[in-house]
């Protein structure tokens, strides 16, 4: 994420100079000015309501999940008396990670990410660049059209695509069938791509939108200068546009990685239509089932934490790769 170029003038006592960049030691220093209160009460009035809500609905559940995942419930003896809660440390993690079907769901999730993330970023980037191309006519109209699916809830998108994946109701499959192409989006080989398509449809326009905003903020003088130097459209894309919108590309890639690891709704909605999707198709589905159908919230908590750790690991790995020296060049 990038820092704004429009900055508060230097010398202002409470200026915030590096809002989204890496924290610099200068920002930590409280203002030292005669008569200036160090922590005015207004600060707490502004900050505490959000922090309290954040602590209650973000931090507390995460802590609860971590603690919960370290315990298990044992029914005593012959089921007489109340079940007892026992500390098992990493026992639930060991159980989850030695369960072949949970491992399979993790593998599926990684495969899904490997399909979805490049597909999403490439599509959003292509759309944004095409709309910014000199040859594009009616770019505003196209932009609204691509952005529209963002307003359709994932559940409803999955329901609609579900109809389009079943030959009985799908005009696409009917037309393809008429010309001899037999496509089965819900077969076990294709279903991951069918799910990837739903996510792509819903979010490509949204990601494109963020990229367009970044492209719009490039001063047009840069293009003019490049043209005077004899650069063609491709050259401008490669040498000016891509490097300058790099932070936004990184941002949408990160959001897409996090989004793909949460895969839940689409397989849940498509499940009645196909045998290719099991009740623990993704780790999130497995966790949900453990918590609410199988009655093992402790194992569910461990599964959820594993997904979170995976999300952080992938995000960190990705940021490491893009921030490595030498990769900065393009």
């Amino acid at each position: 994420m990038n820092a704004p170029t429009t900055q508060a003038p230097t010398g202002a006592p409470v200026a915030d100079r590096a809002p989204a960049g890496p924290p610099s030691p200068h920002d930590e220093r409280p203002p030292r000015r005669r008569g200036h209160r160090r922590t005015p009460p207004a600060l707490w009035v502004l900050l505490v309501p959000f922090l309290a809500m954040f602590a209650a609905f973000f931090i507390a559940p995460i802590v609860y999940a971590i603690v919960d995942s370290l315990f298990t419930q044992r029914s005593s003896g012959l089921g007489l008396g109340a079940p007892t809660t026992e500390f098992v440390f990493l026992g639930n993690y060991a159980r989850a990670l030695s369960d072949p079907s949970f491992l399979a769901s993790l593998g599926r999730l990684v495969a899904f990410s490997a399909i979805e993330v490049p597909l999403m970023v490439a599509t959003a980037l292509t759309l944004a660049l095409l709309l910014g191309a000199a040859a594009a006519r009616a770019p505003r109209l196209f932009r609204v059209t691509y952005f529209m699916p963002y307003g359709v809830p994932g559940v409803i998108a999955a329901l609609l695509w579900g109809f389009l994946y079943v030959p009985a109701t799908s005009p696409v499959l009917q037309v393809l069938g008429a010309v001899g192409i037999d496509l089965q989006p819900l077969s076990s080989e294709a279903v991951l791509f069918a799910i990837a398509n739903i996510a792509l449809w819903g979010f490509a326009g949204y990601n494109m939108f963020i990229l367009i905003a970044a492209l719009d903020s490039i001063p047009s003088e840069l293009y003019e200068a490049a043209r005077i130097d004899g650069a063609g459209e491709w050259r401008i894309v490669w040498s000016i546009k891509l490097p300058l919108i790099r932070p936004s590309i990184v941002l949408i890639t990160l959001f897409t990685i996090i989004g793909t690891l949460q895969l839940f709704v689409e397989p849940l909605v498509l499940r009645p239509l196909t045998t290719a999707i099991s009740s623990d198709y993704t780790p999130n589905l497995a966790a949900y089932n453990q918590a609410f159908s199988q009655g093992d919230p402790h194992l569910a908590a461990a599964m959820a934490v594993i997904v979170a750790v995976l999300a952080f690991a992938f995000s960190a790995l990705f940021l490491r790769i893009v921030n490595r020296k030498g990769n900065r060049a393009w």
């Binding site: 559940p61 999940a65 809830p153 559940v155 905003a213």
Partner: protein
């Protein structure tokens, strides 16, 4: 939507005929892709349950019955669908409103006050954006269950009032749009800090505030997992949960399929109208770093 401040008319005439055709063909094909499910559901919503399966999906059947389907949609289960729409509006409207107030105040505080641990705290909050929703939703159920809040409107409303991404946007925008001189001048004039925020800063931050509200509104509107986990009484369901409830009954009674189709069409129309009519307020440039302030 993003206001393109620099129309590239100069470069536009340089494009050759060939590239105009190529680029616009690709753009048009992509439009077909993005419009396909929407076009399908709008057409399908006019059909009888039988025609849904027996007529071509992208054209109207011989006996369209859009009105009948709408009446069926709004009368099924004692008008449950209208209740779901109202619930969705309530969850999204109230949730997004409170989230916007909290995020704007916090973002402004991060931008305009230096305090120890500011950056650490900010990065913890930003980290909240990266936590998968399931990791929050499942344990939240058990927490709210202990507080006897599950099953109530509060169980969906309260968690929806927190928007870490909103704090990020508000901080960036407060930084760019509220000059420190203005804050200082108001202080010298004797205005209290809260007065400065409420009367001066919020006015300067209006574009960011609207954007935060819209992002959070759509996020809550589209949310499925949280209400799925929290709610059990269909009268408190939002549209997403309600439609999947009906969808789960299609095995038992195929007539529900048409209800799901018509319901989907109505909810798609609702949000598409909202998004297109408010498109000039979608300031994605804020997400890209607010270079225009």
């Amino acid at each position: 939507m993003v206001t393109s401040t620099r129309p590239s008319t100069a470069s536009r005439r340089e494009a050759s005929r060939g590239s105009v055709i190529a680029v616009n063909s690709v753009l048009a094909l992509c439009s077909l892709y993005f419009l396909l499910p929407i076009a399908w559901v709008l057409v399908a919503a006019t059909k009888s349950p039988g025609d849904l399966y027996s007529s071509f999906g992208l054209w109207f059947s011989d006996s369209p019955q859009a009105w009948q389907n709408l009446v069926a949609l709004f009368t099924q289960d004692d008008g449950a669908f209208a209740v779901w729409v109202l619930n969705s509006v309530l969850y999204s409207g109230v949730g997004a409103l409170v989230a916007t107030v909290l995020a704007t105040a916090a973002g402004y505080a991060f931008a305009k006050y230096a305090f120890p641990g500011r950056e650490t705290l900010f990065w913890v909050i930003l980290g909240g954006v990266l936590v998968p929703a399931t990791v929050i939703a499942l344990p939240l159920y058990f927490l709210l269950n202990a507080a006897e809040l599950t099953g109530t409107y509060w169980s969906v409303l309260l968690p929806s009032m927190v928007s870490p991404f909103g704090v990020y946007l508000a901080r960036i925008h407060a930084n760019a749009a509220v000059p420190d001189e203005v804050v200082e001048a108001a202080r010298i004039d004797g205005a209290g800090d809260l007065r400065i925020f409420g009367a001066i800063a919020t006015r300067m931050m209006t574009p960011a505030i609207v954007t935060i509200f819209l992002f959070q509104f759509v996020t809550i509107w589209n949310n499925y997992l949280l209400p799925l986990v929290m709610l059990n009484d269909p009268r408190s369901f939002p549209i997403t949960l309600g439609l999947t409830l009906w969808n789960s009954q299609t095995q038992r009674d195929p007539l529900f399929t048409q209800l799901v189709v018509t319901g989907s069409a109505v909810s798609v129309v609702l949000l598409v109208v909202l998004m297109v009519s408010l498109q000039r307020f979608w300031r994605a440039d804020l997400t890209a770093g607010a270079t225009k302030g």
